[in-house]
Symmetry: C2
Subunit: 414 residues, 2 copies
């Protein structure tokens, strides 16, 4: 039996353990794991140092090494993350509704764990702890397949968790790490329908695409964000400026950052120079259509593909439209379905935009940067779904559950 | 451009039409289509006769020909189905919750259509009308790929719908039928992520498996049912008998029929002869373990694989267990996760069973035959999901929607 199949079998067997665990026990595990992570910081950092030095030898980019590297603070961060999850309310067992039918059957829909969740991720070792925390609190077993570059760090973190579980006399297989990090085994994992209920890829666009294309297991796709802000004819310019600067520049490498502006032509002459100056001051490069370029000497002419780009950088595209319908159409064409905003003082256009724009989050007069589990009040998030099945938008603990119908009768037959 | 890609493009373009349609307009279309189906019954039956005679020439089995064949009553049935869907309440726009955050942002979660739904089905032409009705009412565009055997019937039904849409001056592409019924094209359709948001296979286990394995588009799996009834130590024998006979014999070819009995050993000696006699009277063949066979002269010895079988026939497997935990374990091992029931008078065991059995529907003292959209009060159903993502159990209109977050602000930034 390969390591992968053994892990799969073990995980499936362990489902019954996490599914039936009460909230107190789950919290206890999370708290003990947090404590042990802090206690064994030196060990984790030692193991992480092996990964980092190997990565340097292999000429890994600085920004990636930064993602891979752990520090005392980052280990503390992981531990605090687990403690935070322990404080969240337990989604399992929540009854979404219950009704009594004419025949007396009481039919209720109740939240229940998904089962075994597979997480395929890249080089950030803190995903190991974060994903385990969220999956456990929602009653699930976790199978982790991290990047090759982080294998020593991930193994160390899992060893710490396993030592806690051993002490608590709990089946260690409620969280397992695949140590075979070959590409072939990852692909095999994506077809392990017999043992894994759901796959969640966490990482760059390439990883996510590969999982979506190869997996026969249901996938929750966490996606990229080509987020738009549309400045309507009736926009309040002060709000617009503040929101656009925030959404573009507060953090550029994130999926809810604004990548494209759409401007109503009636306000273009006045607003584009205003916002252009602000963006320019912040060092944002502008890629605009003809109208934009005619108003801003420092703007570049946008190519067609600029409108489709998730820059994740100090860059923004600008498009002038003649009405809100054209704005909605433009957004529908280029958006990745993540987050879009309208800046308007018009009641009608606010409703129209929220009705007709088909994205995971649609804003009126607020920054797209709010699309986030914390900001939405979920306490934590495992990712932001841009697919339409199961979960859309920030995913918290509830999104890691499914439901079942529980039906109480007293002898009913058809 | 192939027919398939053209259909995909057309469908994607038409999404905006159904997404923004108000309830009145959707109902009008459904009512007009129902009326026109009845009016053009002769035409539909003529076209259906071509399929049927071809099928007979090709030596199709009687039971399959029966599924393919339309009659005046069946056409009326399709029309009435559309009228019934028109009467259901529109799920689009429902706000699941809305809350105001500390920063004043009002965040709401609102139901919205999935977009383009692809339906891959076999030889029953009435799926053409049923699927269109449910998809339209939930604001979706439908792409249909029916079986080769029913192509004339399906084309006729779609022609009728298109004539109605033309008269109403509505984009005909809100429902399209793929006339290329080759296997290769079906496989291509399963990879049309750019144009299709969700795929729902409707048909036998082979079709469903093929879609799950080949599709890169998210799939809602409608599944098979190896449903169990567990007769607990404290069971009321009268309830147990009535429920078992109903669940096994009221209709055998359906996924919510009972296929396997699990009996507590404390009641085996008394109950097995009782239920054996009843089942025998109804012509049900019994495949039991050693204990069962020792009690019933007419029972067959069960092979290991009997416990995994969805008989869809007058057959049932029987297993004696020494306690409820063993029953739950046995069910967990062999169940397809559809519907399971416990017959018990014990409060504790009723809770334990509903907590620990991981199936789409779990019953106490009622027949598994109730797992059905109509019986659950959804008014109609597009299938019964046995997967855990998105929808689990009977799927009605709500399960054909997704949600989006709508956020109202007044200038908030992070």
């Amino acid at each position: 039996m390969t390591e992968l199949v053994l892990i799969g079998k073990n995980a499936k067997e362990a489902r019954v353990v996490t599914r039936n665990m009460d909230t107190k026990e789950k919290n206890k595990i999370l708290e003990c794991c947090a404590e042990e992570l802090v206690k064994r910081t030196d060990y984790i950092l030692e193991e992480n140092a092996k990964d980092v030095s190997l990565a340097k030898e292999n000429g890994m980019k600085e920004s990636l090494i930064d993602r891979l590297m752990l520090t005392k603070e980052r280990v503390l961060g992981m531990a605090n993350g687990l403690l935070k999850v322990a404080k969240l309310s337990d989604p399992v067992g929540e009854v979404l509704y219950m009704k009594t039918m004419e025949n007396g059957l009481r039919i209720g829909q109740r939240r229940t764990p998904l089962g075994v969740i597979g997480i395929i991720y890249e080089s950030r070792p803190n995903v190991t702890a974060d994903a385990f925390g969220l999956c456990l609190k929602s009653g699930n077993v976790t199978v982790l397949r991290g990047g090759k570059d982080a294998i020593n760090s991930n193994t160390a973190i899992i060893n710490v968790f396993h030592s806690v579980l051993e002490k608590l006399k709990i089946n260690k297989n409620i969280v397992q790490l695949l140590t075979d990090t070959s590409r072939e085994t990852a692909t095999q994992m994506m077809k392990l329908n017999e043992y894994i209920d759901v796959l969640i890829p966490r990482g760059g666009a390439g990883l996510i695409k590969s999982v979506v294309l190869n997996s026969t297991i249901p996938v929750i796709e966490t996606g990229t964000g080509n987020c738009h802000i549309y400045v309507d004819e009736s926009a309040d310019f002060e709000k617009a400026k503040k929101i656009i600067i925030n959404a573009k520049t507060q953090r550029t490498g994130v999926c809810n950052a604004c990548e494209s502006l759409v401007i109503h032509e009636a306000v273009a002459d006045e607003f584009i120079p205003l916002i252009g100056e602000e963006l320019n001051k912040k060092g944002v490069e502008i890629f605009g259509d003809e109208k934009t370029v005619s108003l801003l000497s420092y703007a570049n002419k946008a190519m067609e593909d600029d409108y489709a780009k998730e820059y994740l950088d100090l860059k923004i595209s600008v498009k002038v439209v003649s009405n809100i319908d054209e704005a909605i159409e433009h957004i529908g064409k280029y958006s990745t379905g993540h987050s879009e905003a309208i800046i308007t003082e018009s009641y009608e256009n606010a409703l129209k935009f929220t009705d007709e724009v088909d994205s995971a989050a649609v804003y009126v007069n607020a920054s797209t940067r709010f699309t986030d589990g914390e900001e939405f009040g979920f306490g934590a998030e495992i990712g932001i779904s841009t697919q339409k099945l199961h979960a859309r938008g920030p995913m918290g603990l509830k999104e890691l559950t499914t439901t079942k119908y529980v039906v109480f009768g007293n002898g009913q037959i058809r």
